[in-house]
Amino acid sequence: MKAVCWEGANKVEVKTVPDPKIINPRDAIIKITSTAICGSDLHLYDGFNPTMKPGDILGHEFMGEIVELGSGVKDGNPRNNGEPLAVGDRVVVPFTIACGSCFFCNRTLWSLCDNSNPNAWMVEKVMGHSPAGLFGYSHLTGGYAGGQAEYARVPFADTGLFKIPDGLTDEQVLFLTDIFPTGYMAAENCDIQPGDTVAIWGCGPVGQFAIRSAYMLGADRVIAIDRVPERLQMAKEQGKAEILNYEEVDVGEALKEMTGGRGPDSVMDAVGMEAHGMGLEGMYDKVMQAARLETDRPNVLRQAIVACRKGGTVSVPGVYTGFIDKMPMGAFMNKGLTMKTGQTHLHRYLRPLLERVQNGDIDPSFVITHRLPLDAAPEAYEIFKHKKDNCIKVVLKP
């Protein structure tokens, strides 16, 4: 089959590789019909993860059709309304791999599954404990082959495959694999109360879904921050957010002015470890990162903490993998803030959000700007990374 392989920093190649096969009894094989590139893939593409190996198959946002089921796939997953899986079913695949029976899965903390990361020992050395295995997301989270390919192997298929009802297109349901639930959980983590204002840094695909979700969860106002004109425009026109261009205004001051001096009730970092930094602080982080004294650039996190109103909540869907420097812990502590974060507990949100798509509350395809064949992946990564041609989200068709 054809698959998008990571070959080094800023280098992906579409290669012919062996077709995936069932390895464990609870595995399934999916023939992929649509797959997307995510901001999370850019952290790998940019070479920020030292546990990527040339030849690793990328991709964690994919869907398709079941072509083979292992002998141990159990029937009756309540998240599929108890219906058994069968060859030929159309399914979406959450990017977090979860066993369905450990302490964490039982508490719906799916992205913290104890049993899906075969390389848990590697993470434990750095993080103390290991989160769940993830598709196409470095050897730190299992080294699982990803879904930017023609076929993929899905472990724990009875827990990790969600059937899609007829009448919905791939483009309407593809983002249930990650960015819609991610934006939604990030908004839920804001602990929104009536009358609240939420400030969201980053108007990439995750930010766009976070804006929509914050309104669904009762936010009074959403203020969205970025510098890319078409992303800000989408936030304003599709998302009904007020917008700030961080290259044009002092974001902290502007937020204060817009909220009667109080600051936003909750703030969200939907940018993560590769935030673009301004001025001296931005240079400082670039130098520190280049010297490997700091692995992640927390410009947005710092700004958000300082901007947040006293007693407010900091929600962090943006990905960090290592260490940050100059964390304004004094502001965080003395203002009595709360931080909520994590890889998304996909399995918790997938069906309820699918129902919202069915009801017509939202059509997630609004973020798609580019549709390209899988063969064009090298070009697609460049377009998405550099936001060329007003790119916001790319879908690849195998």
């Binding site: 698959a3 066993c99 302490f103 295995g133």
Partner: protein, 160 residues
Amino acid sequence: MNQPIKVEKTMTINKPAAELYRFWHNFENLPHFMKHLKSVKVQDAKRSHWVASAPLDGSIEWDADITEDRENELIAWKSVAGADVDNAGFIQFKPAPNNNGTEVKVVTEYNPPAGVIGAAIAKLFGEAPEQQIGDDLRRFKMLMETGEVATTEGQSRGSK
């Protein structure tokens, strides 16, 4: 005199002690999750024969006796005289607080004799015997909680 190698590791497994005890008590199940074991044959209620892989495609063998057995609580074993490598170990099962499964602790000890075999044993465990026992225990946990051991061995990729 070689130093004895002693390692211990604890993990919480989301299953009742009785189920874990029963599975482990049949030593023939151990090679399912202990990577360096080739086979274990149970000979009678007390004695079993163990074969482990050694470097250069070799293997080492020994007989072991169960030295203590408390139902659903503890199993201890020890190699009998004449083993290639003197070794002993025990596994202990303790209910975790609030019915959240069982705290499982494994302790193993090896007494490598001087010379070649001692070196081989050290190699067998690589740099980090702690890690080996930790990995074995994690595979036991995966098998008991999910019915299989998560792996990517044999999956497709773009280069070797």
